[in-house]
Structure formats: structure tokens, C-alpha cells
Assembly symmetry: D2
Homo-oligomer: 347 residues x 4
Amino acid sequence: MSIDGMGTPEIHQNASKATPPSEGPEAIDRQDPDGEIAGRARAYRNWGRWGDDDVLGTLNFIDDGKRREAAQLVRSGRTVSLSLPFDMDGPQKGWRRRTNPVHTMLDTGTDAQMGHQGFPHGLGGADDVIAMPLQCSTQWDGLGHIFDHGTAWNGRPAGDVVTSDGDLVTGIEHTAASFVSRGVLLDVGRHLAPEAGRLPDAFAITPEHLDDTAQAQGIDVTRGDIIVVRTGQLARAKAEGWGEYAGGPAPGLSLTCAGWIHRTEVAAVATDTWGFEVRPNEFDVPAFQPLHQVSIPNIGLTIGEMWDADELAELCAEQSRWEFMLVAPSLPITGAVGTPVNPLAIL
Amino acid sequence: MSIDGMGTPEIHQNASKATPPSEGPEAIDRQDPDGEIAGRARAYRNWGRWGDDDVLGTLNFIDDGKRREAAQLVRSGRTVSLSLPFDMDGPQKGWRRRTNPVHTMLDTGTDAQMGHQGFPHGLGGADDVIAMPLQCSTQWDGLGHIFDHGTAWNGRPAGDVVTSDGDLVTGIEHTAASFVSRGVLLDVGRHLAPEAGRLPDAFAITPEHLDDTAQAQGIDVTRGDIIVVRTGQLARAKAEGWGEYAGGPAPGLSLTCAGWIHRTEVAAVATDTWGFEVRPNEFDVPAFQPLHQVSIPNIGLTIGEMWDADELAELCAEQSRWEFMLVAPSLPITGAVGTPVNPLAIL
Amino acid sequence: MSIDGMGTPEIHQNASKATPPSEGPEAIDRQDPDGEIAGRARAYRNWGRWGDDDVLGTLNFIDDGKRREAAQLVRSGRTVSLSLPFDMDGPQKGWRRRTNPVHTMLDTGTDAQMGHQGFPHGLGGADDVIAMPLQCSTQWDGLGHIFDHGTAWNGRPAGDVVTSDGDLVTGIEHTAASFVSRGVLLDVGRHLAPEAGRLPDAFAITPEHLDDTAQAQGIDVTRGDIIVVRTGQLARAKAEGWGEYAGGPAPGLSLTCAGWIHRTEVAAVATDTWGFEVRPNEFDVPAFQPLHQVSIPNIGLTIGEMWDADELAELCAEQSRWEFMLVAPSLPITGAVGTPVNPLAIL
Amino acid sequence: MSIDGMGTPEIHQNASKATPPSEGPEAIDRQDPDGEIAGRARAYRNWGRWGDDDVLGTLNFIDDGKRREAAQLVRSGRTVSLSLPFDMDGPQKGWRRRTNPVHTMLDTGTDAQMGHQGFPHGLGGADDVIAMPLQCSTQWDGLGHIFDHGTAWNGRPAGDVVTSDGDLVTGIEHTAASFVSRGVLLDVGRHLAPEAGRLPDAFAITPEHLDDTAQAQGIDVTRGDIIVVRTGQLARAKAEGWGEYAGGPAPGLSLTCAGWIHRTEVAAVATDTWGFEVRPNEFDVPAFQPLHQVSIPNIGLTIGEMWDADELAELCAEQSRWEFMLVAPSLPITGAVGTPVNPLAIL
């Protein structure tokens, strides 16, 4: 199964239609986002599964045993960062006040060298400041990031959870010790498009694509895994410029993956794209990020976006080994609904 | 050797005088910071050790083998965050424009619930922004943070390294994959003051204190380790309020530890204090952070500050085991001289 | 009438009781903030007075004739700024995430002088950035700043006016050309306390105090004026340190001034205090800024805070002339509920 | 003299060559920016003119008499703001870390209406924060903004003036009471291109153009005036989108205007463009903002950029009157090298 040479998204979308998802609703009615979302929300909702007070959602699938298993995957010790650099050359263009990170200096080496700092005994220093949206670059979406009809994770009213004081209930600080698990790379871009190494924009990755990739890679997805889906879009952006990377057309997960996510009991899923799911979304009427709407407030899934999996993909291919220890700590900003992250894959 | 009940810093300083450091210059001339710093800078300078182009300093001591060894330390999988929460309740009071983190929302759940967002099919969202000094809370000091007489790490002119465009040479982004190693907790507070569990302000921790603690804990410090020195000051601040935690009197490393740091070939050292080294510094004339001046630009040491090791200390004491896998990824902000960090100890 | 030597706020509060306000409700029931506020809100509400679409409130009292009159007050041309400097030495201490302004440089003269900028033909430059709450220093409170039981100016639901996207209706940008008028200084501090030149904390300025001061100064308050009430608190803060200036005890307007504000048809009122009205507020049960609650959403009043009227007061006293042209332009930040301002008095 | 229908910048540049500037060096050698700049810097340098300690430069031309004269120009009282709105829809695209203003809310009306704020007696509030470059929209360039070969205004070494602590000498706070004067609009766009109402990109406005416009408008430029030069570029940007407004091709002042600026003894000059001077600059070799280099550090001129003079131009044309009272207060940010400004023209 290869899509190399596929000229247009239309082709794949037909293909996608031809291979109906194996979960829940069998096909997407492109006129009915409300129905398609509501059906999956009902089918895959995890509310109450970890108690009324839960603040972690599917991160609960990671337990001490899982973390121990993750550490045992380390063979060479080789470590790869999956983070983009955080700077003004990032993908943001101002949509919804999202800028690239603005990093400024409070003190500099030029000042120190010219003797402007006033410290004793030849000491000099440099300090700095950052101003940035928490979702501007490589990130985790927290459970307070998305609501479904005014309802947040675990069935709470959105307005009781996230006010202008931040996320009062499921703030990212609760995940401070959560992001250590077995990581699995599903390099769908390489599997489906071995020549190009990347999927075209608007390509919807279905559960079958995920399973096929896993099978081809000879790996099982298991409870508590953190899945990294590589589409190859970021590699193109790095080579050709950001273009419309932030919010524009992109390959990504199909809404039909909601069932796969629910069934596999993975702890989190990250992609190398801006928006996790396929863009434009799979509807002929106005729609926006329907898989987020099912996954975050209903399944309780934490989502990673803008993860750079290119170097990791090279290593995994070389070693024909697609599992590793993944440590991707949130920055515990009290009340945050997202966090920048530098995910480390330790092989 | 216990300092419990020690009423005043003076007492301990005499004690400190009475037990001269085992490294380099045998005692500190409290009238001569220039000489004390210059002697240690010369003695322990690592310039050129990893080539003229080096940007990592002692982080070079961590290699794949070390990371593999670190992973093998994981037994239970139990994971502890050593990070403070990042919020306005932090220790900063405005010194040198260092504020606590200001976290604001771009979109909220109240807006979503009241229908003000305009997304289709019942989608709602929350987004957020942070403005903060990179050194405002739990952090790594990068190699561009401190200069010695206008000279940065590896002998480079400070003004060629850190301009208002940031650290052009040793920016924290180079450490993106560096912070995975064996972690060792030296709970000096508990060892020297078993009843109080914490050292008094102005207590200078000498190499002998470090070695005694390691010996009492039954652990060896080895090349490439990331050392976490717990003084107990942060526990007090959490219990009693920040007070002068940011810049005020504190227990911390003595300048005489420079030789210990150099000899042990540790990769990095972190403390639970604002400033790593003892405050006030060990001079009777104006002085400011002399151990920084020796360690960062000369030894090439990366320093951690404001690490919360209290929960970790409890666990280590329970298990009588003071080593663990430590993963403490920098946030790869291009050109940064420091980084907030959420260090994870995996036991 | 003088309060010089008044030792305690208690004394003045008795005095305040002894001189009941001449407007509306004759005295304040210190157990009933709800009633006291509601009565005044009903009595002085200007909703609909300038049409259903109004976004300016009492600024409508300033018309071209008033501005012409203001210009005609200019005699010497001497101009005085009523602004504090905007920097980290300001009064904020972090309450509700209000910090002092953090000003950082994007480029510096040291970098330019050392040749680090890369511009041709010897050009060098410096650029800068600010991060600050709009209410951190000398400021105008916009009409979206305060709500009364969920209702904003002109009777609009607060949630329809100010979302996390800002003030969608009465944003400060609508006032871009508004703040030119006759200014009148009422130097209550000097009038009531001629020796100290300032009122004690918790001193409640009543309408009678305002009228007495105007009479003593030989000036009439007229429709459309911008009134600057000087208590002297800021002079003390400048001399003795900010202390609890931001939110702590302060002299200021009594709730009973609501009627005076309504009757005089002034366009705006500013004080040299953090909070405009007397602090603690005039109730024995929990209360917070009741005059704001009556004035902003009900009267439609724009309020100035932290205006430094000390130099102006000296000039006015020298010239025995308390009126001037006042130009105090908002910074038209779209959707802002407040604005920093540098008010200029042109005499 | 009209340029309507002028197809290309080339044409006007020939024309510009054909009408050599009446000041100083007679024509520009397009191969020699160093020489062209140096000659004008020497010829027009005002160093020492107002003493060695001067921090105001040509703003010294505004005295009390000038301000009085300005006030006397007010006839109708009609007031016009020359400020753009400050928001994310501004012209910035990230060049040198210049973003558009990011305005976020600390508290909102939705939160207040939903009862999330916890204030007593029905009080609700909204607060906000701004993060923005000081040069991101309508602004004044301060005297510390530009250097000539490492030298700042009045001959000071740039590194002694602007460090990472800001402008220690000529910070914008010194201008807090400065910007009140007679304003003169020179509507060069309307005069030279009466049909289009705007000049083409790359059109260099010469001293002759300025004088012709003044003469056609029947107005004299006098000492201490604040001159607003309207090219019409901003009107196009508002109609057609920002495009390359920030840094791209634009009409603007020719380098040859340096002599005009010096001779007329104007206090300040502002334009409706991003960069004040013609872009690309008038050289065939790499060059960047040569008129800034002559004007700011040598002449001591304060420069206004991105001023919106379109509404003002309409009024002036209607009344055939091109002078007015101009009040354009800086925001006195300590150490700033620029300031956002809301300039008010009072007619």
C-alpha cells in the first residue's frame, strides 16, 4: 500500500472512503459534523473511568510498571530531541494572537565585556526573558484546551474549569510527573509514501493506516504508550519554509481514529503537524478540529503537536526498531491548558 | 557530624573554617575574592578540553553509556518531579527585572460556555500565553549565563557570545538532548541536620560535607552524574513563605567546592536554593556569586537552581537509595542563557 | 477646615460621619454595601442618555466647544506631565498578576559599538519591548473595567462586552480623540491639610470636601471638566517608598461622591492614588471599590488613577490658578479596558 | 508639478536626479553611502548646541512661547487622532523580533457574569496586559534609537548610552512634557499626486518637494514645528492590506532632506510610513536608513513613524488650513528608545 505519486487529496479521500474505519461509525457523512462528532463522543467517552475528580484522563494508563518497561527499552542510550527550536523563525503567523516566541535579554555579554554591569571581582552575567503562547511550537495540549458543547473533560462545565485565571481543575501542573512511558513511532509517511517520505496535504490517516504501519514496522501498540505519528509534513516545512503550516492544509489523523485511540488505550498521541488531525477537516460544511472535540474532552486524551520526529525516524529505520523510552515533561505552569515541551526519545 | 541546634551562621562558619577544604587553595582569604576566584579559575579551567568549538562543557561527560547506565537504575518506575509550580506565587520580587511568570489566557472556558467563540459544531477552546524570565523558577543556568572578567566559557570574549540577540554560540538549544543521566541526591540538609532536616542560612557546604554525605548515604559520585544537593532551604520557604529566598541569605555550596566539582567530573550540579552557592558569599568585602564565576565560564558547568528535592528526598530515605535516572530537558529556546526545567527523577 | 495633626483614620471617619454628604443618600450604612451601592446606581445611572450604542459615557460631555475653551486657558505654555515613570520601580506587587512594566531591549548601543549588528555604513540601532498590565501605573480605567452585578456600561451584559478577546464594545480605542478638555485640580490634600500637604490613609473625601476645596481655590467645576483630585498620598509614596500603595489604605473619594460626580457632569475624575476611592472602603463588612461599581458601569465615568499631580499642584499654588488645558490621550489598544497615559497639563 | 500616472520608481528617481537638492551636497552618489552620510553628518551636526548634558535634541526648539502659539491655533476644537489601532492586525511580520501588540485579559466580563470572580456586593472587573515592541505601530523614535559609527546623540559613545538596561542617558522619559507644539501637515501625496492622493513606492521626497507643498498649501514652516509628512502609503495599506509596509518599498524622505531638517529647525518630523525615509534607500550598494543615521544621532531629531494622517488631511483640505495644535505625549517608559504614541491634532 503506497500513495507515492498521488497527485491530489481527492484520490486519497476516495481511497479513504473505500477503506472504511474499523471502529464505530463506519464512514463519515461529510454533511454532518455534529452527528459524526456526537456519535463518537458518546461511544468513546471515558468520563468517570478514573473517578469524578480525575485530572489526567488517559495519562492514567501510564503506571509505574509502564515506566519501568519504558526504561528497559533503552539499549544504546542514544537520545534524540523531538523539539523544534523555540524562536521567531517558528510557524506562527498571528492567528488568534499566537505569535512565535519573543526572547529578549535582560543582561548581555557585550554589556559585561564593556564593564557596564557593576558586579564585583570581574563577575559578569546574562539573563533573559520569554514571551510566548504555550501552543506556539512543540507542545502538549492539556485537558483544558478543548471543550465539547461547553463541557470539559470528565463532564465538567467548561466555565467552571477554565476562566481567565487559567485552568482551575485540570491545569497542566497536574501532569508534572506524567510524561514518562514507552514511545512508539508510527512513521506513516515513510510507510505509505516510501519515496517521498511524506504524506500530501489533506491526507486523512485512518485506523487501518495506523495498524498497517505498525504491522509493517513489526510493533504492537499497547496500553499506556505514547504514540508519535510522523506524516512528514514538518520535514517539508523545514526544507521549503513554513508556508501555511500553522492552520493550513496538512496530512493528519482522520476523525475515524477516535475509536482506535479509545480501543488501544494509548496514553497520548503526538504528530509532526500543527493540528494533529487532517486539514481541511473531513467535512463539506464548516468544521474545525472535530477529532480534538472527541478526543480531549471526551476520551481525555492529551495531544502532542509540532513534534519533530525526523531524526528519530532515521534512527528507527536504521535500527528497524520503533519503540523507545519517551520522556516529555510538561512545564508545570499553574493553570495552563498547554505546555511547550522538549520530548526526549531514549533508544 | 551534625549541626542541629546551631544557633547562628557564625558558629557554622567557624566550623567551616575548622575543616579546611580538601581541594586546591586550603582556605578562603575573606578579604580577597579576586585572588580566591582567580586561583581556582586557573586551577580548574577546562577550556579546550572538548575542542575549540565546544558548546556543552561538562555535559560532555554524559555519553551514551552513561545514559544507558541511568536507565538501568530504574527499578520501580516511580517518577518524581523536582519542579516548582510556575506561577505568580513564586519567589521573585523584581530584582534585575526578574518577575514571577505571568500566565494569561487567550481563550477561556467561560467564553466557550457562553457561546462567544464562533467555532462550528459545538467546539470550544482555551489557549494561553506566558511571559517570564527564564531564571524565575526551577531552571538550568546555561553556559552563557556568567562571565569571568569579560570572558565566557571556553575562553571566548563575552561580547562575541551573548549580545542582545541572545547567546550566539552556547545557546541552551545545544543542550536539547543533553540532560539524561544518572542522578545522585546528596541530602546534605538531612545528613548534617537530621532533626531540622535543613541547613541554616549562610551555611557553606564544603567538599568534605559533600563527601561525608555521599559516604553516609553509601553512594559514589561518578563522572557524568547530575548531582542534586538538597539543603532544605526550599522546604522552609514552602512552609514559611518565600521571604528573602530570592537573593537573600541561604545555605549553599562553598567556593571551595570548585575543586570537588572539577575532580569528580560531574556533568551538572543543582540545588534547592535560589543561588546555588552560600549566601552571603564567603567574603568580608563586596562579593557576588564567586563559585558561579569559577564554575560556569571556567569549568564549563551547567548549574541547576530552585530544584524542589523534598519529595525525592523522602523517597530516597525510605529506600536508602540515592541514585536514579534523571531526565531534565532544557526548553530549546534559541540563544537562551537559561531555561525553565521540570526535572524528572525516575526511580 | 483643616485635618492637620489628625492622628488616625478613626478620627476622620468620625468627622466624615459628622459631615454627611450633600447628595443622595445622606449617610452610609456601614453594614449594607449592597444597599448603598444599589441606591446610588439607581439614582445616578446614565444608561441610554447618549443612545443605545454609546461607547463613551461621560466623555460625551466634552464637545468641540469645551476643547476650544480648554485651549483658551493656555497662558504661559508651561507644560507639566502628570505621569509616573513606567518601570520596575513602580508600585505593583503582583496582586491579580499585576506586575510593574518589564522593559527589555531587542538591540543595544553596546552591541552597536562593538560592531555586532551587521548594518551597513556604520549604522547602529537600539529597539525595545514592553510587557505590562495596562493598569500598572498612571492610567485611565475604561468603561469595560468594572461591572455591576454582571452588567456593563449602558446596561449591557458584561459577558457580551468583555471576553478574553478584550472589550468588544467599549474598548479604549473609541476614546482615541476624547481626552482633551479643561482640567481642574482640586488639591484637597493641600486645602484640608495645609501643613502636611496630604491626607491620611483611610480619609474619605466627601462632596463637601470637594466643594470646599473648589471654593477655596476660587474655581467652578463645570460640565465636561476633567477633575484631578490630589490627596498627597503619592507624594508620600515617592518620599517614603511604595509600601502598601497598591491596594492598601489610602485617602480617596467617599462613595458619597457618586452624586457629586453625576450632578457636576464632569467628563472624568483622576486621583493620585492607586484606587481612586478611599481605602479601606467605607463598610464594616467585606467591600471592594463600591464607588467604581456605581461610577463606571452606571454613571459611565472614566477614572484616572496614579496620576502624579505634585508638580502641577506647586505651579497652580504659585499662580493661584487651578484650571488648565488637559490633554491625556489613551493609547488606542483595540479592546483594552484601560490604558497607560501620560497626561499633560498645559498652563 | 504632479507625478500622477508615474509608472515606475525609476522615473521618479531620474526626476529626483534632475532636481538636485538645494541643501548641502548637491546630489547623491549612489555608490557611496558612507561619503553621503558622513558629509551630511558633519554639516548638520548639532552636538553641544544645547550643552553637553542635553537629552532632548531638536525638541529644545519647542519652548513655552511655541506651546502658547500652538494653543492659539485651536479654532473649532475639533480633535483628530493620528494613531493606528494597536492590535494584532498591525503591520509587523516579525523582523528583528518586532511583533504586533499582543493584548490579553487578566479578568473578563464573561467570568464576572458567570460569578467566577469572588468580589463582594456584585462587583465585577476586567483587567488586561500588553506585550509589544515600542516601535510596532504609531510611534516616536527616541534619541537612543540610532547610532552613527557607534556614537549616539551629542557625541556620546553608544555603549555608554544604551545597554541592556535601556537608554541610561536619553531615555524617552525625558520627553514626558515635550510633545506639545504647532503641527504642520505637509500633504505631499495630495500635492504631487492629486488624483491618486499618494506617492508611489520608492518615491524620494526632496527638500524641493517639501517646500513646494508648503508653498502650495500657503503655509510657512517655522522653528519648533512638528512636521507631519503624508505620503499616502498608509491609506493604501489600509485599503489593500499591509503587504510589505513594514520594511518594504515605500515613498519617504530623501537623504537630501537632512539639510532641510537642519535649516528649518523643526522639532520633529513624522510620516505615515513604516520607515520615515524612502525605501529602498537611495543607493545602489547595500544601505539602510541613512537619513536616520544623519538625523537622530547627529541632528538630534525625534522621528515619528506610522502616523495615520488621512483623516487629518481631509479636514485640512476642507478648511484649507494646514496648521494645528499637536499634542503627542510619549509614554515615559524609563530608558526606552522609542514610544508608542497617540498624537492628537486639535484644530
